[in-house]
């Protein structure tokens, strides 16, 4: 057996296997997006101007941006340059973990809804509502306590407030879908706009910090924010928050795979008619999963306020939309969300490094986000490529596949 043959056999097995296939497709999608991104960087490098010294040359043409530098900065930079000595946990690496933590929650939020067959594009809005509620709630009660006791009480309180309000905001499209048959894709998108608008109204008016030029609330007291452990706190990252995120992964996995509610959710997600037959209350499952999904989004918002910003400010970053990418990349599997969140955390954190080291605009990651979703959405494309590679040179052999049942019933 030649190396090539063996390689083909491995690939063939991989193309057949479903879980492995998922991982393979996600990886391929990621790689492909980065390649397209590289081309984009090159093109952008032609459209901008720079001196001849700054330019790099590929294929005999000069470009102002070097994709290799860009992706080197994007990945290695995000990890805090582990290979160049002087690595420290509270460098860029902790920014990466911070982003990962937030993406864990938004990713889980989208994944849970997806498993119930619901496309929650509203995680963004649920996060904004949760964040605002957390900020206002914590500000409201923070004068009552202080110090370490304050932290121990206020941080969990803030998370609960974020979860409750995010959950309630998630329940709205759930109720609309369950009882008015309104398409959740549209309603959640609309609710995103509404959340942003209302938040802007509140923090530019009634709850505005009079001492700040920005539209934001009064800053939270220090003791009402996530304490930093191990990591030096400079990068607004708390290991406790990450640990909580990992706990959430385990929790969601257990919920989906080992509880009757999870069984209901999964059944109605893939085959609503069978779920109905099996006694699943469709309306209740929809509302419950969207509420839970919204709660996870709300927690992400609470984390952002209490760990990163220390206040609520308008112009909230797109963690909700990134969560869609994370979830899709992870095949909506909670365990996969962990890995995908880390990957995407690297991308997000690396963006700032890239911006610093080169002039490539940070919106590049936004494009990559769209491309990844696009590529993951077309497994057929990768199957075709996989087939083409495995078929090359091999004669078609009679496959004994056993025909799936039912088709010849009529």
């Amino acid at each position: 057996m030649s190396v090539r043959d063996r390689g083909r056999a491995v690939l063939e097995r991989l193309v057949g296997a479903s879980a492995t296939e998922r991982i393979l497709i996600s990886t391929a999608a990621l790689v492909l997006s980065i390649l397209v991104g590289a081309v984009l960087v090159l093109i952008a490098g032609r459209m901008t101007t720079c001196t001849a010294n700054e330019a790099v040359y590929y294929f005999g043409t000069g470009f102002c941006y070097d994709p290799i530098v860009v992706f080197d900065r994007l990945f290695l930079g995000a990890l805090g340059d582990p290979f160049s000595g002087g690595w420290s946990p509270d460098g860029q690496f902790s920014v990466t973990l911070r982003e990962t933590t937030l993406l864990l929650f938004t990713g889980l939020s989208v994944a849970l809804a997806f498993r119930a067959g619901i496309f929650n594009i509203g995680t963004q809005g649920q996060m904004v509502v949760g964040a605002l509620a957390t900020a206002l709630g914590v500000l409201w009660v923070s004068p009552l306590v202080s110090g370490v006791v304050g932290t121990v009480l206020l941080v969990p309180f803030g998370i609960v407030v974020g979860a409750v309000f995010g959950g309630l905001y998630g329940a709205i499209p759930g109720l609309l879908k369950a009882y008015a048959d309104a398409n959740e894709v549209i309603t959640t998108i609309m609710l995103n706009f509404i959340a942003t608008g209302v938040a802007l109204y509140l923090v530019s008016g009634a709850f505005k910090d009079p001492e700040s030029a920005a539209n934001q609330t009064v800053p939270l007291p220090e003791y009402a924010q996530f304490p930093t452990v191990l990591f030096g706190g400079r990068q607004d990252f708390s290991l406790i928050a990450l640990a909580f995120g990992i706990l959430a992964i385990g929790g969601l996995y257990y919920l989906l795979e080992h509880t009757a509610f999870g069984y209901d959710v999964r059944t109605s997600g893939i085959q609503p008619d069978a779920a109905e037959y099996g006694g699943v209350d469709a309306a209740r499952t929809i509302v419950a999963s969207l509420t839970l999904s919204g709660a996870l989004g709300g927690i992400a918002g609470a984390m952002y306020v209490m760990m990163v910003l220390g206040t609520f400010q308008t112009g909230f970053p797109d963690y909700g939309f990134d969560g869609i990418t994370v979830s899709i990349l992870a095949g909506n599997n909670p365990l996969g969300v962990g890995i995908a969140a880390l990957l995407f955390g690297v991308l997000k954190s690396g963006t700032t490094v890239v911006q610093f080291a080169t002039d490539v605009p940070p919106q590049l990651v936004g494009v990559l986000r769209g491309l990844i979703i696009l590529f993951v959405a077309m497994p057929e494309f990768f199957r075709l490529i996989g087939k083409r590679v495995t078929d090359a040179g091999s004669k078609p052999v009679a496959t004994d596949g056993g025909r799936p049942g039912g088709e010849d019933d009529e």
Partner: protein, 360 residues
Amino acid sequence: MSETSIDSASRSDDGFFERYSSRALIAAVTVSAIAALLVGGWLFPDSIVGTFADVVTSRNTLSSALRLSVPIAFAALGGIFSEKSGVINIGLEGLLIISAFTAIYVTDVTGGVWVGFGGGVLASVLLALLFAVVTIEFRADQIIAGLAVWLIALGLAPFASQVIYGGPNTPTVPTPGSITVPVLADIPFFGALFSASPSVYLLFLAVGLSWYVFERTTFGRWIRASGENPKALDTAGVSVTRVRYAAVLLSGVLSGMGGAALSLDLGQFTGNGPTMVNGKGFIAIVAYLFGNYNPIGAFLSTLLFAGLDAMQTVLQLQGIGVPRQLIRITPFVVVIVVLALVGRTRIPEAAGEHYESGEE
């Protein structure tokens, strides 16, 4: 037996009584509210009602409603073509964004507004082509792929603007101006119809043509069949794939016209946050759902949404004390309320499903 907008299609709906009544209800409430407003305003010209009535009957309101309708209605027409053929195109927003930016860029480079307009349309068509290949050829989930189209454009346009102009907003370019029909433009209120940007006239043309295509041409029938029962079309010897490609590309053309008109009429592309498109592509989806996939219905419901938007602008100018931020979200709230009342619309039978011809 020709299809006329709302009532004919609802005949076939499941549980149409309910739906028919909610559609009728919304229409009736709108009409009577306006009537009450006008009567009230005529009786008490100095009250707040009077001010409102003035705003509603103001030529400016109609004029800005038309202007605001342009991107939404174009995108809605595009969405109708795509979805009627069986491909749900949720990426209209992305098509609007990419064409809005490209139109400004090309205008800036070439100096020709109409060249820029064409450039915007071309960009949108290319993105629609990508969407078509991915959904039709590679059987991607239409919703996810549409979302990807939106997110790609949402990243790409500000990215390009940043690269080229050093910021998410472009500099301003010349606008196409407006076309004024003499005499007719002086008619009170309706005069606004005859003194408008060329894109408004283009829109009228597009609405009429779209209606004609669906009701009178072979191609229109094939699109309908492709969305309702692709197998019927396939066995009749027409390629479903080709019809769907054509329909999705048309949605690219129409959305591109909408996006290009949006930015060119203002002479600038702004790419902060959700960009200047700011959800218009999604409102377009609701507009054509509410208009029951009829081009004229979609246009009228767009006018409803845009009218609301226009009123808030005019009200702001008059200094009526409703916070700007809250007024801005009214269209989104209205969309949700409308969707909740109308509920499930009768979408084409095969929409969202991939179609594979023959064996294998």
